[in-house]
Amino acid sequence: MPLISKDLFKKPNNALEGGVDAQPPAAEERTVTCSECKAVLPLDVFKAQAHVCPRCGALHAMSARERILWLVDADSFQEMDAALLPQDRLGFPAYAGKLRKVQQESGEPEGVVTGTGMLDGMPCALFSMNPEFIMGSMGAVVGEKITRLFEYAAAQRLPVIGYIVSGGARIQEGMFSLMQMAKTSGAVLRHSQAGQLYIAVLTHPTTGGVVASFAMEADIILAEPKALIGFAGPRVIEQTMRQKLPEGFQRAEFIMEKGFVDRIVPRDAQRRELSQLLRAHRKEGLA
């Protein structure tokens, strides 16, 4: 059964990100068009709104780095393991070239950014996945960086906030990809056994092997409105069941109704709620 589905990433909600970079670099004139309602917006307005369309409310994709910088206190983010580069361990056909291409397009070496930062003055460890990096798939370096982050956070007694977006496993890394599910789960377990808080924020889409590991292992699981969340992608399920899926199936609202997500949090409330949750779990507050 596929742990990854390409079609998820063709949803219009995610289409705008590419459009932003496609604009000519004519400074203040730059605009973006909402793929949902076709509203034309100045780029700076759009970015200031955390990529939410002010007219129709559609949530558009954010890159891993934008997420973190938008969330944490100014100048507080310190990246970890930025030099870890993916490897073509299997010599998988066309993978090396694909990596080079996506690295150039995204400006990122791999599919996750990790590090530490402050949220309203409270320290935390953070990871944020890249939707544009081979569909947010989990290769060995993604697993390694997340594992190192949880190990560091356990040792330093820090909470972890993870922004998740993923199509699942990275096929081109074969079993090295699958085994990251076990590895990250072990690291999450140890961080949890150290008594530390882990909050996952599931964004569109969160599927496959990531759902079957660290996305579902958090103490608190938040989701963005309408985010698609599931083990199998909708097209695979339709093929298996030979029927159309009902409207809203696997969307965050449905997943919460079924009992697998704590809260759905719109983007403009995320910073406040995450800060509130960190505050509620501060150990020194108990003294």
């Binding site: 059964m1 299997l90 096929i171 081109q172 599910m181 590895k183 072990g186 298996t240």
Partner: protein, 261 residues
């Protein structure tokens, strides 16, 4: 036809022994335990208590079924969340009573369906990965046929992961990989080769500690070999302090994909 694809076909071969065969031929006094005590009894996963020589063990296996009726009843070995939850329930019970755990893996993958999603297929697998990583009794997982992705790994976080000679273990089915990477499910043979999914490949990667030759199809003889191997390995694992055993289990997976960075 590539060598890897021949292994894939051998692993899926009609008439190849399934989990119940190994349970009956390796162990004695197997008593099957049903249900996850949450929702249902998933026939795609069998589990229970058995004797390995003089040692009580908990055995959990993914069972594809033998004849057509049984295959349908067992959903062709594609488990729902309740199957993984039954496995977890029995493993936690084994932990309570200090019994070693044997997992037998043979699945094309976790079931991809509406009910499976509604009842948390992803969560069920994730919970097994986490729980197995910390379980305080020894675990040996043996891939006897198909090791299909997350649905196989859900029983595969073990102190020792072993494979039969013709078993395969892959992040995705060759057909799935071919249709995603080459947009052509017909390229399954090429994909099988590229995915490096044979027992020999995984032994080379250090993901699997032992590969058992299939004794030219004499599976009864193979079961004798396996009985001895399980017994010796559990005896060895039981000499380790629990903390050291769990630490080694973590470090074994921890290394994968992180060594050359």
């Amino acid at each position: 036809m590539t060598a890897a694809y021949e292994r894939v076909q051998a692993a899926r071969q009609k008439g190849r022994p399934t989990s119940m065969y190994y349970i009956q031929h390796i162990f004695t006094d197997f008593l099957e335990m049903h249900g996850d005590r949450r929702y249902a009894d998933d026939a795609a996963v069998v589990g229970g208590i058995a004797m390995l020589g003089g040692m009580p063990v908990t055995v959990v296996g993914i069972e594809k079924g033998v004849d057509t009726d049984e295959k349908v009843r067992r959903n062709f070995g594609s488990a729902h969340p309740e199957g993984y939850r039954k496995a977890l329930r029995l493993m936690l019970q084994a932990e309570k009573f200090g019994r070693p755990v044997v997992c037998l893996i043979d699945t094309s993958g976790a079931f991809c369906g509406i009910g499976a999603e509604e009842r948390g297929q992803g969560l069920a697998i994730a919970e097994n990965l986490m729980a197995m990583m910390g379980l305080s009794v020894p675990i040996i997982s043996l891939v006897i046929g198909e090791g299909g992705s997350g649905g196989a790994l859900a029983l595969g976080v073990a102190d020792r992961v072993w494979m039969l000679e013709n078993a395969v273990y892959s992040v995705i089915s060759p057909e799935g990989a071919a249709s995603i990477v080459w947009k052509d499910a017909g390229k399954a043979a090429e994909a099988s080769e590229a995915l490096r999914l044979t027992a020999t490949d995984l032994y080379g990667f250090g993901m699997v500690e032992r590969v058992f030759p299939e004794a030219d199809g004499d599976f009864a003889a193979l079961c004798d070999t396996l009985r001895t191997a399980f017994t010796q390995e559990f005896e060895a694992l039981r000499t380790l302090p629990v903390q050291a055993m769990v630490e080694q289990r973590y470090q074994k997976f921890r290394k994968i994909g992180g060594d050359a960075l």
